[in-house]
Symmetry: C2
Subunit: 325 residues, 2 copies
């Protein structure tokens, strides 16, 4: 373990010492991962450093519009050792997160905002108060004195807006809004970005929503809400399993609901369960009891059994959580 | 017509000249109207001015949590002439918008950000570049040197976040983000406000969404999307007509859709139609042809006839708009 710092100076010094940089982030990359990678590559280019971006998994379709997205390679193979002098690992609390073998062959520049970061880098630029890693890349760009281009601003704004949930999460701090003001002044256009991110919904997703929301059930005086999706609904809507992501937030947002559960019976004999809770109700413990995990307010597990069996077992486990004492 | 100014100084001077202020805003008040009224009343109180707030219509239920909301009177009767020395009219392009007779008996302080404002005030504090009237009240509070309390910050943040659509509209300018940074630093808590505004959804609304979204139809190669709601669906979901507000934005956000139409057949022989378009397609002209109106990208009309008849007539009118030349 090496020392960690919130100051971008040591990260900048590490970048300035090399000519060839590899940039990566976690598997199943999100807006903060992708936006930060692309902006960091631009910062590096302005410093005369040639950057290659490699991720193990493809980006979500709604990030297709990000400027420079075509330069990201999706592969499980890393470049030859001699082609890289430093690896910037973004938004990864541990070095297992990118999903590659052999990253430790190179010196690591670790840039992250997770509290639990393992400080695995030769340089650890860590700031748990940063609303997004994108905001830390912005600070790095400022420290480097590089020009904040409209493409950099767009990528960093996407990082910020996706990681703060359109400024609706608890990381929507004054610092998040100050960064947004700066990025918009530099050429990010929030309404165009919002349209690209959230208003290119597949019609099949809307059809699936109609089918899934029709399964809504409320129990325990409206404190437990459940929805269900099976393979037949996917087929009827012409939809894919990943279209069900985020749908559990709809029952979670119902007035009075404390716990929401989403049962996904996509393959015979096994049901994926997504759990969400509000306030101090801990659904992680329930997920763990069924072999899964997550966070206190957002957890999940995969349970063997028929849909009816799994629903019955989860209800048994969840009802005590929402009982009013 | 009097001169208008973007500088809050003349508005502040007008407030300082009086002891008893009446505050009002437009009929069917929204977050910017209500949040700005409550914050202005607090600013006035700190200047030693006693403010009364009267609106013609009640506020939306999701604004119930606003600090001080209980002090807003809903009435079509204004106070006796002698009890008021000045009326602050917020977010109203014309003096007809509040829906009261007789406002012109008093001197008017006109505070608005609409381009089309008619400058009907004795003092006109107008700024079409302001992201929300709430931001203008914030500038006024700064000019007055009054303390920015957490309750004021909460009300003004609600004004800002509702008028910018969670910072997704074109008025999400650097100025909007700078105001947000300031308000959050002063005690507004974005994630609690978001939860209060958007995560107290009635279960009946979710049930209605499932029914309405199941009616989705795509035509013209996916460029025209329609959804429908009738009285039977309202009854089945146990829902009210106002629960259908904003639902038309779901088909509008489908990839490839240029025009979305929502047919609401709530009473026999007449259908309410909401129209939304993207880009430079003008649905206002169609709405006007059917006796309605609105804006180029958001318009509506009420058409006599059965649901089937009205759908057929509107399709005839809308299909040419989405034809690819």
């Amino acid at each position: 373990m090496r020392d960690a710092t919130k100051d971008p100076a040591s990260a900048l010094a590490a970048l300035r010492r090399v000519r060839r940089l590899l940039i990566t982030s976690h598997a199943s990359p999100d807006g903060d991962a992708i936006g930060s990678e692309l902006a960091l590559a631009e910062v590096a280019a302005q410093l005369g450093v040639e950057a290659t971006i490699v991720n193990r998994d493809p980006h979500p379709a709604n990030l297709d519009f990000l400027p420079g997205i075509e330069r990201i390679a999706v592969s499980d193979r890393l470049p030859p050792v001699e082609e890289v002098q430093l690896v910037a690992v973004l938004e990864c609390p541990g070095l297992d997160r990118p999903g590659f073998e052999g990253l430790e062959r190179w010196p690591i520049l670790n840039i992250d905002h997770h509290l639990s970061n393992e400080q695995y880098g030769a340089v650890n630029y860590l700031d748990e108060e940063a609303p997004a890693v994108g905001e830390m890349v912005l600070r790095l760009a400022e420290a480097a004195g590089v020009a904040l281009t409209p493409t950099m601003a767009t990528n960093l704004y996407v990082a910020l807006v996706t990681d703060t949930g359109d400024f609706r999460y608890s990381n929507a701090t004054p610092r998040a809004f100050q960064a947004a003001a700066q990025l918009v002044a530099a050429g990010a256009v929030p309404h165009r970005i919002a349209e690209a991110l959230w208003e290119q919904v597949p019609a099949r997703l809307v059809r699936l929503q109609a089918l899934v929301l029709a399964t809504l059930q409320l129990e325990a005086g409206g404190r437990l809400a459940t929805i269900t999706c099976d393979a037949g609904m996917l087929a009827q809507a012409g939809a894919f399993p990943q279209y069900t992501e985020n749908l559990v937030n709809v029952p979670r947002a119902i007035a009075g609901v404390r716990v929401a559960a989403f049962f996904k019976a996509f393959s015979p004999g096994s049901v994926k369960v997504s759990l969400r809770s509000r306030g101090d109700i801990d659904v992680q413990a329930v997920a763990r009891a069924f072999g899964g995990g997550g966070h206190p307010n957002a957890a999940g597990c995969t349970v063997q059994g028929t849909l009816g069996e799994v629903q019955a077992r989860l209800r048994q486990a969840l009802l005590p959580l929402v009982e009013v004492s």
